[in-house]
């Protein structure tokens, strides 16, 4: 499109926004100038206008007179049943506490299990030390480098 003229292809692309009054002033002027001298594009514009006119004739039913009542009733019900303010805060804290307790229980159980599976070597060493301390033969063995 040059600064002041356009061809039919360009004009036809712009006819819908032209009809909808969505074109900027300068572009609108250029389209208008083209339409003034182009019967084919004028006919296309009229066809578009006719289509819109047909669409406008398609009616819809009336909305139910009870819609507003139903909307407001639902809103009031949701407000009534939703936790409000301090009650909502208490619920959040209770939920956080439950999570913390669950984690704590898990850690506690984990520690208990670790003690059940104490390495054998530690117990054997203590048992061996106890035997040596309480056994004369054991002391002599150690002095002599025995097992």
């Amino acid at each position: 499109m040059s600064n002041s003229t356009m061809n039919c292809g360009q004009a036809k692309r712009l006819l819908p926004p032209f009809l909808d009054e969505e074109l900027s002033g300068r572009v609108r002027e250029i389209v208008s100038t083209h339409l003034a001298s182009c019967p084919a594009c004028r006919a296309e514009l009229e066809a578009l206008r006719t289509d819109v006119g047909l669409l406008e004739q398609v009616r819809t039913p009336e909305v139910s007179p009870f819609l507003v009542t139903r909307v407001m009733a639902e809103i009031r019900e949701r407000r009534r049943t939703a936790p409000q303010g301090f009650a909502r805060l208490l619920r959040s804290l209770a939920a956080a506490l439950m999570v913390a307790v669950s984690i704590g229980i898990g850690v506690w159980f984990g520690s208990g299990l670790a003690q059940t599976f104490t390495p054998v070597a530690e117990n054997s060493t203590e048992a061996a030390v106890g035997y040596v301390e309480s056994s004369t033969i054991g002391v002599y063995s150690l002095m002599l480098g025995g097992d």
Partner: protein
């Protein structure tokens, strides 16, 4: 609450009509309109006034309607060829009814986004900018949607025009 109720009263018919053309039946349109208004109430704190309340409300309605359509299988294929109307009947009321049904069918056969844009333009008198806000698109995208929508409506009506139905 009283102020919100007033907003509901002001927008109920427009919203319902828009959703009727999108959902294709009254009960879905009413259900969606009600859900949209309740959702708007719940999200009122997030409405920052960047768009008008109407475009914001219609956007909620559009999303709910499209979600509903995705979840449901259509019970009727509305884009199939209807039985040929009796174009010889002289009574004006019948002919008007046929014309209306024909055009309604052409509109309902459009893809959802094209139909939404065209309905908002023709019936809600929205600007391209308002349509863009409602549908969450750019103005350029709306311009493209409307161009294709009008071309598709023309194409859908061409055969009926040739038969003299419209």
């Amino acid at each position: 609450m009283a102020a919100f109720e007033e907003l509901v009263r002001r927008h109920q018919q427009g919203l319902f009509s828009y959703l009727y053309r999108m959902c294709r039946n009254s009960s879905d349109a009413e259900e969606t309109a009600q859900a949209a208004m309740v959702r708007a109430w719940e999200k009122l704190a997030t409405f920052r006034g960047a768009s008008s309340f109407k475009t914001w409300l219609y956007r909620i309605g559009t999303n709910l309607c499209l979600n509903l359509r995705m979840r449901r299988k259509p019970t009727e294929e509305l884009c199939e060829t209807m039985a040929a109307p009796d174009v010889e009947r002289p009574d004006a009321e019948y002919r008007q009814k046929v014309r209306e049904e024909t055009v309604r069918r052409a509109l309902e056969c459009l893809p959802d986004d094209q139909r939404a844009a065209l309905v908002l333009l023709v019936y809600e008198d929205m600007s391209y900018k308002e349509i863009a806000e409602t549908l969450g698109k750019t103005v350029r995208a709306v311009d493209s949607l409307l161009f294709r929508a009008k071309a598709n409506v023309r194409k859908a009506l061409a055969e009926d025009r040739a038969k003299g139905v419209i």
